[in-house]
Amino acid sequence: MIKNNGNGEYRVLGTRPVRHDGADKVTGKAVYTADVQLPGMLRGFILRSPIAHGLIKSIDTSAAKATPGVHAVITSADMPDVGDKIADLGEGAVNLKYLSGNVLAQDKVLYKGHAVAAVAAVDIHVAEEAANKIIVEYEELPSVTWVLDAMQDDAPLLHDDLHTDSMGAKSENPSNICTHMHFEKGNIEDGFAQCDVVVEREFKTASVHQGYIEPHASVGDWNEDGRLRIWTATQGSFSARQQTAEILQIPIGDVVVTPCEIGGGFGGKIAVYLEPLVGMLSKVSGRPVKISMTRADVFEATGPTPGSYMKVKIGATNDGKLIAGEAWLAYDAGGYPGGMIGPGCMCVFSCYDIEHAVVDGYDVCLNKPNTQAYRAPGATQVAFATEQLVDEIAKQIGMCPLEIRQLNAAKEGTVRVDGPKYPPVGLVECLEALEESDHWKSSLDGPLRGRGIAAGFWFGCGLKSCATVTVNHDGTVNLLEGSTDIGGSRTSLAMQLAEVLGITSDDVNPMVGDTDSVGYTDVTGGSRVTFATGLAAYTAGRDLQTQMISRAAEEVWDCSPDEVTLENDGSFTHNGESKTFKELASQLFKHGEPLVARAAVSPENPTNGFGVHVADVEVDPETGKVTVLRYTTIQDAGKAVHPSYVEGQLQGGTVQGIGWALNEEYFYHDNDTVANASFLDYRMPTMLDLPMIDTIIVEAANPDHPYGVRGVGETPIVPPPAALANAIYNATGTRMEQLPMSPPVLWKQLQSESAEA
């Protein structure tokens, strides 16, 4: 018999043990992909397009191939034809033709930095020198990098075979618009007719990059037995395995991916870039090959999350009830179809109970790198719009911005714009926590200072995870799982297993396995690991206990399994005799077969993470610079397994949002090539730009997890641009309609408004 120990009284959850991989990571021993060294390993370099859009007329690799020290040179001609096939990658589907084309350009280059050829040589300098001897003849084509321009009928067309998909219906003419989505709820005309106040604005946001400090890196070794072994910086080893196998057209079982320690991802290390290339270079050269991207490669050829244009309209009654909302959203897809518009549409009104709504969304190809997920992909842009309009309504009707949010907050039973209703969620609790916080109660005095708040939402997904638990002689256990550990998840998973078993976090040795050694596990993304792989660890622990009850009944107490009780502390009792997990495990080990347990889970519901942020700023009218004086991030974690890691996610996501809000953007030259592909010119927040980020963790249990865990990683990036925009408004009286709200932008706006006044 198993008693549910989800009683809120925990021994391990809520404590803050040192991470299992900690010593390796503070001594330089942890092996990241760029640190992998194999005997005879070559280094690779990628030749990239210098232009934003063009036809590849010819590629001459003869001089590169003749360079001493060069072992392989490949172009798309060396890659298999993958055909026009949709591959389901677990957390999204992709047309292989586009995936392969992004890895190595076929007949066209679609953005500056698009990979055109790859070289493997004895060292990186020889490889680079040889790559620069490759002669590529381009026919340059007109290019486009602004989403509304790319939607025009006469815009330069990126793909002449791409037709707009409207839920299965295809447009007659080819278009840069990959997808049109449309959602309705209630009756929008009736809704706006009931409103006393309606606000509408247009917003635009720049392309931003995930900015992980580790550049993409992969090592490939095409072994003599025909198996391809890959070591790589990926958020998902199984997804990388599948993409690599599909692009190289080899059986999935012939590829084994070892996920190395990874230096950040934030959504940008899910799509493959290098894995198929190191594989093919290794096949051609017969040697292992490593490629590490340069920082310029990272900015020019990976990542950015969509820039956007948004027109949003919200109406309310004079007593503050939001009645109707309308949104028209156009997001960058980049060179190939993207995937962020769906969640953008579903998140634009996700924080509020609005009866009538219409949302239209467009995913649009243009001459930028293929866009990728970035922490709550698609949600930050729309929150920037909606959360400002909600403030504007509050201002017009004379209501407090917190009160209007409390009045309209999404809660259990609120219908999402795409139809389903929320299960129990924690937005109301987060708003309450804000109301009670020291920050909210404090006064903010002084000229050009303002306070702003904003709410944010991200789904948090489940997907597939596996875990295997093996038991050692002494009753310590090993936890084998498949989730790339980007921020301490080995420990948050080990803690959940320790909680079930009644042992300590240190009694668990967690290990992230390669794709040959652990059951299929989806990517570390979607805020899913502590929730879903945690559920796998929990379930494996339960499996182990069930086995131990049977064995204890048979081998120890000579009774029926029903007569063995598993107590809340993980000990086993029979007739007043009690054995701890470790005692029983050691005893069973001596008597019989070793103990091994496993779990495979596929939770499907989103975990629904809501957060509320409050920011105090000061604006310098001479420069337009915004100084963040104080910042508090409040979020519902369901149950904070390791509170320091939850705080870390809240703080890190918040600061990425602050960077997006105040500085980060891609600049383009007139010829649509990126002008700022370095950390000097792509200005991410430094330590000196920030205050401490205070956090308040709310725990409104998720009914779909035994400990109530919700995903927390993504939501914190969503509110900052809106919270800061609202703070800037309250400091200066000026409404910000574009991101970033960088000093030149804000300065110009303040100048023009004071001139008008």
């Binding site: 839920m167 299965g168 991802g265 769906g342």
Partner: protein, 87 residues
């Protein structure tokens, strides 16, 4: 009977009807019933023998990845919604 909510983008096939009740024990049957009522809707929801990529089903506001084989029970509310992942 289960209640099926028609995605707004497919209302052009239903003459503006936003929901219908059909007799079905799984999503495949739901789609077949819809096709009988609104010819052409099946190919908008499905690609061959699978749910169209990028779509998922919500049954009483609980997501399922089982697609067409997901079971439904009388009284269930069915939505077809976009799939989402995350970063």
């Amino acid at each position: 009977m289960v209640t099926v909510f028609i995605p707004a983008q497919l209302k052009e096939l239903t003459g503006g009807i936003t929901s219908v009740e059909v007799e079905a024990s799984n999503i495949r049957q739901v789609v077949e019933r819809l096709e009988q009522l609104f010819p052409g809707i099946q190919q908008r929801l499905c690609d061959g023998d699978d749910l169209r990529s990028g779509l998922q089903v919500s049954i009483d506001s609980v997501m399922t990845s089982r697609g067409l084989i997901a079971k439904v029970q009388p009284g269930n509310e069915i939505h077809f919604v976009p799939a989402f992942g995350g970063g």
